[in-house]
Amino acid sequence: MSTIAFIVIAIFTLAGALAAACLRKLIHAALCLVVAFLGLAAFYFLLGAEFVGLVQVFVYVGAVAVLIVFTILLTRRVDEDTGGINWAGAAVAAIVFGGLAWAIYRTPSLAISSSPIEALTVKQIGETLMTSYVWPLQCVGVLLTAALIGALVLVMEERR
């Protein structure tokens, strides 16, 4: 059953990602990217990583997708791409794919069928974040706050 689920989710994710890369209208591409994000979240659920899956939906669908859509809306005059294939982009994509494929192929642990890991509860994740990883967490918090204030400062400059 999980194999069937894997194949179905994989088809959806890949189709969404491919459509995001190929569609001419940028808004359509952004909306197709959301399908790919949701597919990734579904993979996390399939693997038992409930918390990561929910955060994936929360952050990527709720925030990043809206951000992308608004960026397209507010910065572009023409929201339709009329050019041919972007060769530089294709080259970068090929290199990234090659690198990832090489890395995955070289990973030895894939061959070993590991014993099923007990699913982490949200409480355990929270406790680990607030004890062992409290400094990285605080640093990310400060970074995001700085970004938020920076964005506000940029907007205020324009108003004056």
Partner: protein, 398 residues
């Protein structure tokens, strides 16, 4: 115990259906799907019925507030009005603008309704009555809820209409702004309970202090403040009056729903009400003790009755506010979110922490009350400088 069997009637019914010969002899995955389908149909059936009921009750209550009768022609007391409305909306012409983005225009109402229905799944409606009982239930609620913004955008952009786009912009701006206080006011509850599961939160509110005061979080100062903030944010998230600028008909026709007609419009309407049910249901779960009875001697009443009684009270307040308050101005709404709601929401976290470290006793109760009141007074004095209430300066109009 007879009370217990009535309390668990629906749970027993589900178990009985699942134990029927042709289901129990089927493979495991069929049983899993059957169990899920039963949960889904129960939630959908109950809330579709509630939607039909509330749509007519809202018009009746608004009518009474405005000193008129409200709908009273179809059926006894006008109770069959939703059926007539449904038939009317089904046979109405469905108009899609020629220049609209057909696919996005079509998908928007579906994507609007789906999160609202999904969010209803994680709310405990009674003892052992949670459709999706997962560890991160509260997170699930907000994760699916955040997809609504995208749906609003799709409706506004796909319609290819300036009013639609403006409405969608307004809606997204206020939804993004109020999502922060909405989530931050949930944090104190999650902190105190130490769990993101809705069942765990309801469980933590069981019992009574001094024998009669329920241990609901709304009975603590931080809980009461957080509940009020949560409720106001919920009003905004479900685009209800006085925060219904996205569809302010005197300004921008109907906002992102301008180009929708017939049944697609009805789906938007349904999504708005389901969102309202979901937010009210979560408020009941988080602050009003979920399905627990308010007094010890009332515990013989089944748990789901209590849940839906509390839900009805909140829904009535939604309608009451709609009948009472005028629409707010856009800039006031945004100022309110960032300058008042956010600091107050953070104060709730602080007050809850103080309450927790004073061992949930009287000292902590008074301390957290003092913190909430102090911050409220400082904020209201600080924000009342008059410049925020001055007449608006128009940049693009005389």
């Amino acid at each position: 115990m007879s009370g217990n069997s009535v309390d668990q009637a629906f749970v027993s019914l589900k178990h009985w259906i699942l134990s029927l010969g042709f289901i129990s002899s089927a493979p495991d995955w069929v049983q899993m799907i059957a169990s899920s389908l039963l949960n889904i149909s129960a939630v959908l059936g109950v809330f579709m019925g509630l939607f039909a009921l509330i749509s007519v009750l809202e018009r009746k209550i608004l009518g009474r507030i405005q000193n008129r009768y409200g709908p009273n022609r179809v059926g006894p007391f006008g109770l069959f009005q939703p059926i007539a409305d449904g038939i009317k909306l089904l046979i109405k012409e469905d108009i899609v603008p020629a220049r609209a983005d057909k696919v996005v225009h079509f998908l928007a109402p579906i994507l609007m309704a789906a999160p609202a229905i999904l969010a209803l799944g994680v709310i405990p409606y009674g003892r052992n009555m949670t459709a999706i009982s997962i560890d991160g239930g509260i997170l699930f609620f907000f994760a699916v809820g955040s997809a609504t913004e995208l749906a609003v955008f799709m409706a506004g952009w796909g319609s290819n209409n300036k009013f639609s786009m403006l409405g969608a912009m307004r809606a997204i701006a206020q939804m993004v702004s109020y999502e922060l206080p909405l989530i931050i006011t949930v944090l104190p509850v999650v902190m105190i309970v130490g769990s993101l599961s809705a069942d765990g939160i309801v469980e933590a509110q069981a019992g009574y202090s001094h024998g009669f005061i329920p241990r609901w979080f709304v009975c603590t100062p931080w809980g009461a403040a957080a509940f009020l903030l949560f409720f106001v944010s919920g009003l905004v998230e479900s685009n209800r009056t006085p925060f219904d600028m996205p569809e302010g008909e005197s300004e921008i026709v109907a906002g992102h729903m301008t180009e929708y007609s017939g049944f697609k419009y009805a789906i938007f309407f349904l999504a708005e009400y389901f969102g309202m049910f979901a937010v009210s249901g979560l408020a009941v779960t988080l602050f009003l003790g979920g399905w627990h009875a308010p007094l010890p001697f009332l515990e013989f009443v089944p748990s789901y009755v209590w849940f839906f009684a509390k839900l009805s009270v909140l829904l009535f307040v939604f309608i009451w506010i709609r009948g009472t308050l005028p629409r707010m101005r856009v800039d006031h709404v945004m100022n309110f979110a960032w300058k008042f709601m956010m600091p107050m929401a953070f104060t709730c976290i602080l007050a809850a922490a103080v309450w927790h470290y004073q061992a949930h006793g009287w000292a902590g109760w008074l301390w957290s009350l003092a913190i909430v009141i102090a911050v409220y007074l400082v904020l209201s004095r600080f924000l009342q400088t008059g410049k925020n209430l001055s007449t608006r300066t128009y940049r693009f109009a005389e």
